[in-house]
């Protein structure tokens, strides 16, 4: 099964990349865009077949490596 780990800058952490994207969108004429925040998605192919175990494993991977818990939060979705 696959686990999708979404890593985002924590609230309160400056996200200049998101800000720059927001400015660019406004420049393109897209109205009504509020705050923009940029993160990343890491797709993991797991041999585990139990969704709960896959979820737990991916969360462990996120805590240990995929996310930097000082500045980022993450969520895991198993499909």
């Amino acid at each position: 099964m696959k686990a999708y780990v979404t890593v985002m800058p924590k609230n309160g952490v400056l996200d200049p990349q998101g800000k720059a994207i927001g400015h660019a969108l406004a420049g393109l004429g897209f109205a009504g865009v509020g705050e923009v925040r940029a993160g990343k998605v890491i797709e993991l192919e797991l041999s585990e077949t139990d969704p709960a175990k896959a979820q737990a494993a991916a969360e462990e991977m996120a805590r240990k490596l995929l996310a930097n818990m000082v500045i980022e939060s993450f969520k895991v979705e198993v499909r």
């Binding site: 400056l14 200049p16 995929l66 000082v70 500045i71």
Partner: protein, 233 residues
């Protein structure tokens, strides 16, 4: 003094660092490949030099932090060993958990390659004892992710414990917003561990150690290191 410089794929400042160390110690530092599991016997100082280890994949320093040699470096630091991380080396020390905080993309989103001025906030560290208290010296920054960040509590704790060693300042020594080009919390350019033996900084003092090449403003840092070991025997 026996120094060892760690080499990761993508490291590119190891030779400058070796020359800077050799200038003050007279001895050639060992160059240690990241795949090694042990440091050479008798190593006094480990240096993580600048560069772009593992292409800055995932986060700057994140991949290097997982390499076999970093387990040995962490154990060395835990035994009271001296470790210096410059630029990417600072990022690796943070990703390894040997120093607190995180290094975000520069607030301007631009790679900054320029001179900067640094104020020495502490001269009682193994890396700064040859500077005069409050000294300001010129250095060079060359990084895309040098915006030091920590929670307000962590930053306050570091300040209270006197672990802020270097700050970005104007040539006159003022910690202004304009002098803080990358946007670091409290203009912080360099910090140390509680025992002061692990230090990380974003700028490159090894760029200024030769009077024929851009002056010797950074030399006191290397003289400090050498002096620490001379007095320690």
């Amino acid at each position: 003094m026996k120094a060892g410089i760690i080499l990761f794929p993508g490291t590119n400042r190891e030779r400058d660092m070796a020359l800077a160390l050799q200038r003050v110690t007279g001895a050639k530092p060992a160059i240690i490949w990241h795949g090694e599991a042990e440091l050479p016997a008798g190593t006094d100082l480990v240096v993580l030099p600048g560069g772009f280890s593992y292409g800055d994949y995932l986060r700057c320093g994140a991949m290097a932090a997982q390499s076999p040699i970093m387990r040995a470096v962490a154990a060395f630091a835990a035994r009271g060993g001296h470790v210096l991380g410059v630029c990417n080396g600072f990022q690796i020390l943070i990703e390894t958990g040997l120093l607190p905080g995180a290094l975000l993309k520069n607030a301007s989103l631009r790679f900054l390659s320029m001179d900067c001025h640094l104020k020495v906030e502490r001269t009682d560290t193994p890396f700064t004892n040859r500077f005069k208290p409050g000294a300001v010296f010129r250095s060079t920054m060359a990084h895309g992710d040098g915006n030091w960040f920590a929670s307000a509590e962590t930053a306050a704790q570091l300040e209270a414990e006197g672990r802020v060693v270097l700050r970005y300042v104007t040539p006159a020594g003022e910690a202004t917003a304009a002098a803080n080009r990358n946007g670091s919390v409290n203009n912080i350019a360099g910090i140390c561990s509680a025992n002061r033996r692990v230090m990380g900084l974003m700028p490159h003092p090894e760029n200024q150690v030769d009077p024929l090449i851009d002056g010797t403003d950074g030399l006191p840092m290397f003289e400090s290191i050498s002096a620490s070991f001379a007095t320690a025997g």
